[in-house]
Symmetry: C4
Subunit: 198 residues, 4 copies
């Protein structure tokens, strides 16, 4: 089974998730600029989730690029990841509409945490299929960022009940460390291509 249809389906789901989030930004009834003020936290949550989904799409793209073939477990690990990503619009809207209240801010961390775990499981499934000597296994290496992120989410979720701004700052911080695209895989790919040509 090729990886093309897996990519196409994931692209479709990600494109829809990233776009329907904007439907949660309800059009206000008033017609002056002040009617937009209550939407500011909704907009900020939207920006954060858009960046997160952009990061996932980007890294997902890189990871599948280093994947030669797709097995049943990879397929279901991928659907499992998409499931948690599909909850982003709900968590984003609840947090935004409640102006970063403690419980919604804590809950926002749950799909973030579960998606990070699901991404790690997908990575494992691909490496299991291709062998530990594979390109992806080599590229991922110690996977510092992949281990740091869920740890930070686990810290942020309870902290949200104590002071939600710290949790929010952690969510933004994790997004920033991932905004740098996953050069590890790109470099490993280029090295390998260099070796193959040589």
């Amino acid at each position: 089974m090729g990886r093309n249809r897996l990519e196409a389906f994931s692209d479709g789901v990600l494109a829809i998730i990233i776009t329907i989030m904007v439907l949660e930004m309800k059009v206000p009834h008033g017609s002056d600029l002040s009617a937009l003020r209550p939407l500011i936290p909704v907009f900020l949550s939207y920006v954060l989730s858009f960046v997160y989904l952009g990061i996932y799409w980007n890294n997902h793209h890189h990871m599948l690029h280093a994947t030669q073939s797709v097995s049943g477990p990879i397929l279901w690990a991928n659907l499992h990841l998409l499931f948690w990503l599909s909850l982003f619009p709900f968590a984003t809207a609840w947090m935004g509409e409640n102006h970063f209240a403690p419980a919604p801010t804590a809950l926002y961390g749950v799909p973030l945490l579960m998606a990070a775990i699901a991404y790690w499981l997908l990575q494992r499934a691909i490496i299991a299929k291709q062998g530990r000597a594979s390109l992806l296994a080599f590229a991922v290496g110690s996977d510092l960022k992949g281990k740091l992120s869920p740890t930070l989410y686990l810290v942020a979720i309870p902290l949200a009940f104590w002071h939600q701004w710290i949790a929010g700052a952690i969510y933004v911080f994790v997004a920033l460390i991932w905004l740098v695209p996953d050069r590890r895989i790109e470099r490993a790919l280029q090295k390998k291509l260099g070796r193959d040509k040589a």
Copy 2:
């Protein structure tokens, strides 16, 4: 006519169905965790339908993989399947919002049943086009699961009016027996590829 555009269109529709279901999980007005409690049945219905749609996508993928060319009847059999799958969000939301009340739980079985029949019709249309000696006909064989599922739905639908939890348990059970990906087609494909190489 190639099968690529059929796959792309089906992927698109399935990706949208699986994603808009989450829109039925309405953002609650309260901002504490107890506001999420009434959403638990909605969430559970969402998980079940997500798994069902994942199974359909997975098996659809395998079936088309064993299909060489697409005819008019295949095209319409495929649209017929997508029609019943498109009713999943409605049935899921009605069942979830009414906390598994009898009538919505019974109705949830109707698109499940019709989609199972539509899938079987699509399989017939593909085999009719390719001949009974085709790879797919060989792979499908006696098709035990494909015959068991609609039978179980037919049992579950009236049972829902008597005790809805039995119907729910049957829906979950059918999903579990399908979660095992359709190895029959995969094995037949691999055998054939082996023979072709030899």
Copy 3:
């Protein structure tokens, strides 16, 4: 410019239109079967529009299959067609929710009529690009169905104000004459492929 991205974009838009229509079938508040009764006209409208969009997707697929290259006018003629098709969910919902009242039933014919004209314009744009001796020009021929459909819509729209069931019957009739896939193009293609091989 290739026709692949045009196909992919059209497939995406059509997949979304066909799927979001189901969002207009609002989940009822009651939890017994009688709560579904007011939804029956909405469901019937949905079925009719689903069939129409399936026909458009099917014929669009055939038409682009006979198209070698894409020009600016073809691109915009295609977007023009997608625009009118995008109004199907609105017209469908208005007609369904008002139980086939005269004005909504008349209005339902407007996107049908405009989409038929837009399809004809797209056909013209493709033939203009490829020359009157092209495969598509040959396949389309006198285009009886393509001329009959808008005429019938033009008759149905005013009739809806007098007796809406006649208009509804005409809409169903036109769908039925199109359900037969466009064999003309398929036959012309096969003849040509036959000649090319010979």
Copy 4:
């Protein structure tokens, strides 16, 4: 990294944006034609935004066609463009529902302006990757339209508070000057292909 998945994802997002806009055209409760009257400004806003998104899709298509490979900055510049385009449905609905009131008409210009800037940044990112001697750099040339559009939006936004119809006229005017497809890139491509063959 190839440009195919970037195109597919962008196509998906654009197809969804262009289609969910129609969801903002709420089905009216009345069943006579007069119930449609308040929807006229919503419809006109929809047409304008549909044309704008069609222009972006068209030009995006041309630009990526002249792009050989995709880098991290190109990927993020593209996501940045999609972000601002994703706000079109919101801005369109607010302007339409308030019948072109001053503040919503001014705000409509903001995603237009930001998308124009994002498009320019994406163009820069592609040229930066391919070198100033690249085909795209040559094709874009002095980029008169690309510089005129944001200037006109910057003029229209404050004018909307003084007399909103002038702003609306500017938005329509910019759409009209872009409706002519970007022949520069097409011509440069054809010239180059001609040279390559010679």
